[in-house]
């Protein structure tokens, strides 16, 4: 793993491909986050809401996406993290997480971040500023 500060513009962090989304992942996240909106855990409730099935919490995906930066947390911290939710994540989906360095600024390194599903469709996209300290 190279130090974050040595990265060059256009360089990407190692991609993380998540395991297929399981109901237990979402039940666990519901419990840990306190978001018990039942469209994320109970089929009938999702169907009543007009969905084909339960969907992942948007914040589950956003929380996972931040994992790309966890190996670097000894070097600095996430100063800004901004996401637009673009598509739904269903059970069994395989989500890939990417971050590409776009700019080096005085307040930190700006990454374009994305989560895409197995069909290559973006489920969320945004940017993240990582401030290297020391």
């Amino acid at each position: 793993m190279t130090a974050m500060a040595q990265m060059e513009i256009g360089e990407a962090l190692p991609v993380i491909r998540l395991q297929p989304v399981s109901r237990l992942d979402l039940i666990r996240y519901a419990g840990a986050s306190g978001d018990f909106n039942s469209i994320h855990t109970i089929d009938e409730e999702a169907e009543n809401a007009g969905l084909p099935g339960i969907i992942a919490h948007g914040m589950w995906t956003m929380g996972n996406l931040a994992k790309l930066f966890t190996p670097y947390l000894g070097e600095g911290f996430i100063r800004r993290y901004s996401i637009r939710f673009k598509g739904m994540v269903f059970l069994g989906d395989v989500v890939s997480l990417t971050a590409t360095l776009e700019e080096k600024r005085s307040d930190g390194m700006v990454f374009a971040v994305e989560a895409v599903n197995q069909d290559g469709r973006k489920v969320l996209a945004g940017d993240l500023v990582f401030s290297v300290e020391g």
Partner: protein, 149 residues
């Protein structure tokens, strides 16, 4: 109706960042880094203690905004933005409150949607602002009409 909510705030509420809650949260995201969960690793790190994952503020109690009563159905989470002065530390107390930053409506393919922007703030005991978490909540036409009744 909802427009009148702009600028409205909740009372500050004390939150304590608990070790067990952080561990459970990090594990639920498959992100159990020793920096979050291991006391010794925290002590050896630059901050000298354990930190919380960036999206952990979703667990905070920010109180309730008087008069703002959102329905259970018909809401879509559109955007989410965090800004930090520094990471949050396990064991620290964070005083949180919420504010309605904006509300506007836009016509789209599925009728006239409402866009509600709510910000959760957290400050240290000293009054230093530690983070903000901005949420864009999209309210569909049916839910919006229901709220206006």
């Amino acid at each position: 109706m909802l427009k009148a909510m702009i600028g409205r705030k909740s009372e500050k509420t004390k939150n304590v960042i608990e070790r067990g809650a952080v561990k459970k949260f990090a594990e639920a995201l498959g992100d159990a880094s020793p920096l979050f969960t291991d006391e010794e690793a925290g002590k050896r790190s630059g901050y000298g203690r354990n930190i919380a994952p960036v999206t952990f503020p979703v667990t905070f109690d920010g109180g309730s905004i008087p008069g703002l009563d959102l329905p259970d159905k018909g809401l879509i989470h559109g955007e989410q933005k965090y800004e930090y002065a520094r990471p949050l530390f396990i064991g620290e107390e964070v005083y949180c409150w919420m504010e309605v930053k904006d509300y506007y409506e836009k016509a789209g393919n599925f009728g006239r949607m409402g866009f509600l922007i709510v910000v959760l703030y957290g400050e240290a005991d000293s009054g230093e602002l530690l983070f903000s978490e901005e949420r864009v909540i999209i309210i569909n036409e049916a839910a919006r009409k229901e709220m206006e009744r």
